[in-house]
């Protein structure tokens, strides 16, 4: 195995000052919800870490996650961390293609067997593997082969974590999440469509410094996915006061009121969007006036509609209720008529009895 430079060496080569680096570690500590006292430990661990080999597999995806991370406003400290890992295989970013690229992957696997990190972007078509292949090999094969020697797997984006849009009904490719296929390796899910860049790098930093972070029951690091957006949303006071935008251009929308009635999924969506925000902390969807789509949640595409409030039923309930009224009216009328018939019949059969009848011997 070739000797990999330490992170500190690479940083020095990139002209990153110690001060900037310490600031970054403090930010990471706060983003990961760790006590600030741990920042020097993060720094220490990061400085000592050898550039880990990362194999980035792109399956059924739109490349939005790669875009999100690489197009974050440059040059970010996140990008710096990206430069400090050894991205040995990333078929979107690397120059090599086809068999040449495959050779690079095999070499990275061989050199770092048992130690490399696999990042997966995109879901895996299982019903018909031909939907997504590279170098003539199915995603399923490549995933299984690459995962075998991995120290851990990080799924980037909702497609890799939970199937995402390819998995949306009716799921024509039989798309599956990584965790449906690989069950014997630690998997850290970093969902989002796409995930926030700093969350991605924060997870990598956590992995480098403290190992696999504490995960929730959907495999997401609790530090980034512990709270729902609704509990951190700056529009929350309007929700609590009962003030809502009813349309996208009414007074309420202009006044920045809560977007619940426009379909906001913030109350059930776990993410740090409202606190870390996007584009270097500039804004996030709700701040720009659009309800949260719930993109860090499994099957968010099948949640009944992006603009349907969470409290609104998803089925064709009006038609069914109308049918119910019709059936009820017919059955009710029939029942009542039968009742009347029984009553009339009883009246008809009723024999009057008088005192003389009672005297008669029976």
């Amino acid at each position: 195995m070739k000797t990999r430079p330490l992170l500190s060496e690479t940083m020095a080569a990139h002209g990153v000052s110690r001060r900037t680096f310490m600031k970054y570690c403090a930010t990471l500590a706060s983003v990961m919800a760790l006590p600030p006292a741990l920042a020097p430990r993060i720094a220490q661990a990061l400085e000592r870490a050898r550039r880990p080999s990362v194999i980035w597999l792109s399956f059924q995806e739109c490349t939005g996650c790669t875009e999100s991370i690489t197009r974050s406003h440059a040059p970010t400290i996140e990008e710096m961390i990206f430069n400090t890992i050894s991205l040995d295989y990333q078929d979107t970013l690397q120059a090599a293609a086809g068999h040449q690229a495959e050779a690079a992957r095999h070499q990275a696997m061989k050199e770092n067997y048992g130690k490399y990190l696999v990042v997966v972007e995109g879901s895996i078509p299982v019903a018909n593997p031909a939907y997504s292949c590279f170098a003539g090999r199915s995603n399923l094969d490549v995933l299984k082969e690459t995962a075998a020697g991995a120290a851990a797997i990080v799924t980037v984006g909702t497609c890799a974590a939970y199937g995402g849009i390819p998995h949306a009904m009716p799921n024509p490719t039989g798309a599956r999440a990584v965790s449906d296929i690989i069950t014997d390796k630690p998997i850290i899910n970093v969902p989002g469509c796409p995930p926030i860049p700093v969350v991605m790098t924060g997870v990598l930093a956590h992995f480098l410094t403290f190992g696999v972070p504490e995960l929730d029951d959907l495999g997401r690091p609790k530090a980034f996915y512990g709270d729902v957006i609704h509990d951190r949303c700056y529009r929350r006071p309007f929700y609590d006061k009962g003030l809502f935008a009813e349309t996208f251009d009414d007074e309420g929308a202009r006044a920045g009121w809560c977007l619940y009635k426009l379909g906001c999924k913030g109350p059930t969506t776990h993410s740090v969007c409202a606190t870390v925000k996007w584009n270097g902390g500039v804004s996030f969807p709700i701040q720009s006036g659009h309800p949260c789509l719930g993109c860090t949640q499994p099957d968010f595409w099948d949640g009944g509609g992006f603009y349907k409030p969470l409290s609104v039923p998803t089925g064709d309930y009006r038609a069914l209720a109308a049918g119910g009224v019709g059936v009820g009216a017919v059955v009710g009328a029939a029942g009542a008529l039968v009742g009347r018939g029984v009553k009339a019949e009883a009246a008809r059969k009723h024999e009057t009895v008088d005192a003389h009848d009672l005297e008669k011997p029976s």
Binding site: V228, T268, P298, G332
Partner: protein, 220 residues
Amino acid sequence: MNPAFTLFMWARGPAFDVALAIFAAGITLRLVEMVVLGRKTDLAPAKGHPIRQGLATIFTRSIPRPGLVRFAPGTYLGGYVFHLGFFAAFLLFAPHIALIRDALGLSWPAANRAIVESATALAVVAAIILFFSRVMDPVRRALTGFEDYLVLLLSVLPLVTGYVAANKLFGNPEMMLAVHVLSVDALLIVFPFTKLMHSVSFVFSRYYNGAIQGRKGAES
């Protein structure tokens, strides 16, 4: 993949559809039955004003008779607080208004959280008082059957589960919402076939009571 989400989508999807269809069919069935069965025509000349008194009784029965509140305060005050609290929580909470707007196109302003949550809490406390007033009193205990306890429980569950969901008291928010919606689905299904039907049929029973007494020239 995410059982909480699947359950929530089932609760607000197919389960709600079926529950609402049963609710609509059941209520219509019972209303039509009441109207078609009707009542026997009373051929005796009326001494009072049956129709007027029947209509008036629909409303006057909402006001307790003098002395009765002091006689059974738990039942009366508990009853008022439960009904008002339940309807305030149901009709003034924004997510419910969003649902009504989707279903009927009607909308009104929502109340703030303090009002909705206080109404919910008061309604739950009232329901507990009503429960104890049934259990403690030997006569009422003897008159109370399984259906009464079931109905009381099913009417309180949406309030409790709604409070839990709105405040995210236990773990997964999707699961809490799923449980809340399921409790409403259950309430919708049993509604037409239990004493919960009183919330519709009270109009008929009060009218008939009033009209019968009105015909006799008696008070109602």
